[in-house]
Symmetry: C2
Subunit: 117 residues, 2 copies
């Protein structure tokens, strides 16, 4: 699997083809970081940035923040907070679901969506 940097570089370049304003410098500007910093992140010279910065990058590049965070090895703090409120319950659930196939989890999600508790 490719790393965080490759992924966002490719996403940015894809957007740049249609819209010149997606240069590294301008994206860095919108994200609120130094161009040199973004450059190093994209090339994997530096580690992925902080959660807050990743979320901003996701917004600017129209990417899914949870996925970007995951590629950076980070879990968004709102999800953490959800688990930490009922640690035993969610720990059990997650360990159970660890080996479940995607469709099994999806059906659980759907089931809960129509939640009749």
């Amino acid at each position: 699997m490719q790393h965080f940097g490759d992924y966002i570089r490719e996403a940015r370049l894809r957007l740049q083809e249609e819209d010149r304003s997606f240069s590294l410098r301008q994206v860095a500007g919108r994200v609120g970081i130094e161009p040199a910093y973004l450059s190093k992140i994209e090339r994997g010279v530096f580690a992925p940035p902080s959660e807050a910065t990743i979320v901003k990058i996701a917004e600017v590049l129209n990417e899914d923040a949870d996925v970007l965070l995951a590629m950076a090895g980070k879990l968004s703090s709102d999800l953490q907070a959800i688990i930490l409120q009922r640690p035993k319950l969610f720990a059990d659930l997650l360990r159970q679901l660890k080996k479940a196939p995607d469709h099994a989890i999806l059906s659980v999600v759907r089931e809960v969506t129509d939640g009749d508790w």
Copy 2:
């Protein structure tokens, strides 16, 4: 709610009533940290220690590591890893379950346990 330090101090003192070997110094020894450090953690002078150290404390004090970690505001890295492998899927699930009552989550766990996928 009380903080991490209070919680482990009380757990330790409870054990110490039955078994003198649960002095701060000896517990620190078994955990593998300096007594002065554990002392400060217990009193909240220092922040809770690293994940690895919390897990050792949990072992020594016969406490649930997930709960101890949660009190320290940390999510165990094995649970993180589970989520990070399928971030979108689990992000959706967790956000759905955020407001679900405990019994609803428990029934999902049970359901998945007998999983027939």
